[in-house]
Symmetry: C2
Subunit: 434 residues, 2 copies
């Protein structure tokens, strides 16, 4: 049973705070292990990666077989059924069409003092995408990371994916190919992150690493942050559905379960202004949990972290939503756009009853890599901007330097940075001489 809350209840605030504060994930402390692995890869390169892959993935590689060959990729892609291939292509096209609109513009202007100012954007030269092996090896995530990188103009895009016992996921290989990935290596874990960050004899280093992974991968990403760029460290997935009574309880139940089935630590919350509807959804969930393939996982998530909150009105729902700052937010109400305008903190918003969150996981177009654990308060989903950086530009004319140089000199003196001031003063003196 999920927790049932009602904002009219006297103890609502403490119960809601308990829900917000629930610790859903116990990350094992693997930092020492990861530090040792990174050092080993830095010291010994390929040899370390090969040994660790033999140990963890039971696969004996050589420097020549670390990389998945074009022929192998071709062979894997050929195994994908035609309908799945077409679906991946549809997804890639739609993700590309959305992300192309994110490509930022350069700007340049001349200000009243005559200074020319501006900035320009450029892609990172090389990016690495970590793809987990096993159950969580999702071709859709390959597209969601690789397509924005390629849209950004990343020249060299590398995928690492562990293939324990030599088993590859044909859909992952096809997604990599469709997205234009340049190199694929059959390695995983902290050793893959270390190889991407520092390079080995066979694997050239990259500048930015994105993609989800287990505790070892997350710890390794934290450690190499600074040497390379990384994306956010993702926590378990979450959905908040705000629905009025005019919805099919089974639709909403399925939306809640589509997060819950990811992970026992996932969280699904319904906020409704109709208590009867809330009970109907709870019943619909129970019914679905009788037959869902992943009912053990979804049931545990729903039991431990699920919640149904009854509110007085939708304005109250919006305020609670901003406190939750959900990764995914479905608005299944008559005026979804109007309600959306009242909400500030959310990774992605899905409007109306025909926009189940699962559409956004695959083919909607927006990215499905989104801020979890209330981090939508300060961060955004993955985008083209994550694979680009901005260089600012300025040019002073003699006139501009005369106009604003003295202020710089004054501030340099106030900060006791004499050479800063002199570098301006020497030029002003020259200009005043002539």
């Amino acid at each position: 049973m999920p927790v049932f809350l009602n904002t009219k209840d006297a103890d609502f605030e403490s119960a809601f705070q308990a829900l917000l504060g629930a610790k859903r994930e116990d990350s094992p402390d693997v930092d020492d292990t990861v530090a040792a692995i990174i050092k080993d890869v830095r010291d010994r390169g390929d040899a370390a990666v090969i040994e660790l892959t033999s140990k963890f993935d039971r696969q004996d590689l050589t420097a020549d077989t670390l990389r998945v060959s074009e022929d192998e990729i071709e062979a894997e892609c050929a195994k994908v059924p035609e309908d799945a291939r077409r679906a991946l292509e549809t997804a890639a096209e739609r993700i590309r069409a959305y992300h192309v609109r994110q490509v930022p513009e350069d700007h340049s202007w001349t200000d009243p003092e005559g200074a020319t100012l501006g900035w320009r954007w450029s892609p990172v030269s090389a990016a690495g995408l970590y793809v987990p092996g096993g159950l969580a090896s999702y071709p859709s995530s390959v597209l969601m990371n690789a397509v924005p990188a390629k849209v950004a103009g990343v020249g060299r895009l590398v995928v690492t994916v562990p293939t324990p016992d030599g088993v590859m996921n044909p859909l992952v290989m096809l997604a990599a190919r469709i997205a234009g990935v340049d190199e694929v290596y059959r390695i995983g874990g902290a050793q893959a992150i270390a190889a991407l960050a520092y390079g080995t004899e066979t694997i050239a280093p990259v500048d930015k690493i994105t993609g989800p992974g287990n505790a070892f991968v997350a710890a390794a990403k934290r450690r190499v942050f600074g040497k390379v760029g990384i994306d956010m460290i993702a926590g378990p997935s979450e959905i908040l559905v705000i629905a009025d009574g005019d919805n099919d309880p089974d639709f909403i139940a399925l939306d809640l379960m589509s997060q819950a089935e990811h992970d026992e630590s996932a969280q699904s919350i319904l906020i409704t202004d109709d208590a009867d509807f809330g009970r109907a959804v709870a019943e619909a969930v129970d019914k679905r949990l009788e037959t869902l393939e992943r009912r053990a996982i979804a049931g545990a998530s729903w039991r431990d972290f699920g919640a149904i909150i009854t509110v007085r009105d939708l304005d109250e729902a919006a305020r609670l939503s901003d406190r939750i700052a959900p990764e995914h937010l479905e608005l299944c109400v008559a005026d979804a756009e109007g309600l959306s305008d009242k909400i500030t903190h959310a990774g992605a918003i899905f409007l109306g009853q025909y926009t189940p969150e699962a559409i956004g996981d695959y083919v909607g177009g927006p990215n499905h890599v989104l801020p979890t654990a209330r981090s939508a308060r300060f961060s955004s989903g993955l985008s083209v901007l994550d694979f680009m950086k901005r260089t600012t530009l300025s040019r002073m004319t003699p006139g501009a330097l005369k106009a604003i140089g003295p202020a710089a000199e004054t501030l340099a003196q106030a900060e006791s940075l004499e050479a800063h001031g002199l570098s301006v003063r020497a030029r002003l003196d020259r200009l005043n001489e002539s």
Copy 2:
């Protein structure tokens, strides 16, 4: 003496790699201390902050005096000389005018399938700006952090600044006031970062923390990353000047020294296509080092990390520059814009001989918080975007869901996420019924 390199020399590549790889900073390992401080502040709130401030800053505070009162700020501001006040106002206006242009636009469109897609930006609700005490307490940095936050629309902007022995920096207080800072607390170190991230009885928590600090502050920011957003961890400052022989050696010497005087770990590099000019700059540096107030610091930086590199031509200079990926890049050549177009990785570019880097530190307009230690390969200077986040939006019509829903269902099945597929299928079945 700095190191002199010439790309024509046989050992150039190894010498250049040594320069790139030079370890300029030994961060002490303060992680355990910082972890304990953060835990203490989380457990005991104000009481812990007050004790730690007494211990480290020799200042006895109460919950009532943690915050600097409006009267105190007023009194400090009144101490600032008129020319410095005007210079700060000029700087703030120019920084604001530049950053206003960075405010991103929202987008929304309807695609051929009838889906409405888009995104919108919103500011973080509350941001904290760490300002160091003592020597590195720069009012210009207050402006560079606070102005973009206010331009972004941050509702609550908090400054923490340690005031050891009760000594405040009037210019810092005035910069905070000019930039529109809402609250100022006289605390510093890891305890300030912990208070900003987790809150205490007196200090409400923020969502994002920016600003420079010592090793304790940097370690604390790394630790609270995820609970709140942080900016990049800044390393020692750097400048690369690319200059042809048609420059005044003393101007270039002063520009090199204006980084070197920051810190013994700072790095100043000149690349020139004129070996004689390089030697003339070295002589001009030596002359300036005889009299500069901070000659001990600047001299050590120049001796240990300075370099003058002679190249065959400016194309070679551009290629070396991209390998250095400098924080600051001055282009003092006849066609600075043309050379700039050949460069991809740099935090900020200053064009022409009348644009000394120091202009950018204070009044140019672009931000002076820039990526160090080669991180311009993958990251950007501080901007309005650092105080905003993006929410993606999507709405499917029945027609759009019919068009793309089946592809989502196929991919959900391929990823063994049954509820994902069913959440789409249930709606498609309903639509097909009607």
